[in-house]
Symmetry: C2
């Protein structure tokens, strides 16, 4: 009987692990090796867990590690991307990219809160939980797969999607207005079409399709209409730029 | 005639490169791939150099990069080495390790000043030049060989030689006094024997041999007698510890 119970427990555990594995893989863009690091990244101190050596098992130390890894990947990116920027410029740009506000946005967009194991209700967490989980997640990637994968994730999922140097420099205030201006100049009709959905954990999301000349040119999804519009406009803008360069 | 001159120039350049290559290899503990990164790491802004694209060619941007890489390697080391330390502890320990004073000491011990290309006399540089060159050097390693080699250099040449967590925590004030205490308890005669030398660039160095029971147990070299003594005592202490563990 005990064996049977253990087997059921084991199976339900592996089923749960399977779902967790799939979700993490989707976020990462590659397969994790060991799930334990990600479990740790999403364990809140209120869960009062200890590891096999009796040390606290929660994400707080991973935040420290993730913050350092994120800082160095962004530093290398800026160093290569802006060869004319001096030390002061690089430092300022990095702190804009890894600002508390931006980290919270990233954690929220990846919906990391869905994974949290804690004894307190998630409504009691402050806004910073999103950024903290995000940093811890980066720390887990480093421990699981090493620096190169950390860099790969940050490049593909953060820098390409979120880091826009022109915008951070204040040269571009809004891609939406750039697109609208261009459409008006070209007399091309355009539209932003929205669909609202409720994500997996009750967080509201807005999907938007941007059409120009009645053809869909970009899609985006975010936690507010304004953000989704801006993301879609940015994607359309970069797609156009590429076409112009290729011509 | 011009060809001959060019050939001579080229040869004297490659001879100079050869010496530079040897010296850098000795410091790194492995061979560099491209010398240009290290040349940049040792070029002061007063040299007024530009790269092929017209951007300033000096070490200031590399300092930014090296600082970030050093920070993340030390973060990972502390994370693994002190599993019981919380986020606050890890942050505090890291800032002790990468303190301005410590970075200056490292730059001075590696004698990085010997490589500097500048239009001002080296006596005009402040004390911080040593730490700045050291950070830039780490940045050059990252660009030349990638994160893994950066980590290797920092592990072998810095952490193993300089980073002593017990001492940073204030648990051990001085290895010299630990050794003396032990010798007195064991009634073992001991001696620190010094030789003074003048390095390559006129910087004074002190070499010390620590003998216990008339047998040399450790050697060290540093820029002051006190530092050399402490380094030798620390090496002797760790060597003893290893023997005790192996027993």
């Amino acid at each position: 009987m005990r064996r049977l119970l253990n087997k059921i427990r084991k199976n339900s555990r592996s089923q749960e692990d399977g779902i967790f594995f799939e979700k993490i893989t989707k976020i990462l863009g590659f397969e994790p090796k060991e799930l334990k690091y990600y479990r740790k990244a999403f364990t809140h101190r209120s869960a009062n867990k200890l590891d096999e050596k009796g040390n606290p098992f929660n994400y707080e130390r991973l935040e420290f590690l993730g913050d350092a890894m994120l800082g160095s990947v962004i530093a290398a990116h800026l160093y290569n991307e802006v060869p004319s920027g001096d030390e002061g410029y690089l430092t300022k740009m990095r702190s804009k990219i890894v600002s508390r506000e931006h980290l919270n946005e990233l954690g929220r967009d990846f919906n990391l809160l869905q994974f949290v194991e804690s004894k307190v209700n998630s409504s009691q967490f402050g806004e910073n939980i999103h950024g903290n989980l995000f940093e811890a997640f980066i720390g887990a990637i480093y421990l699981d797969k090493g620096f190169a994968y950390c860099e790969k994730f940050i490049q593909n999922k953060i820098i390409k999607q979120y880091v826009d140097i022109a915008k951070l420099e204040g040269k571009v205030i809004s891609y939406k207005s750039l697109i609208i201006e261009w459409c008006q100049k070209e007399k091309a009709p355009f539209a932003f079409d929205f669909i609202e959905d409720n994500g997996q954990e009750g967080q509201k999301y807005f999907s938007v399709k941007l059409s120009i000349n009645h053809k869909i040119v970009a899609k985006a999804r975010a936690t507010s209409k304004k953000k989704a519009e801006e993301k879609a406009a940015q994607r359309a803008y970069f797609a156009f730029q590429e076409k112009i360069i290729k011509k």
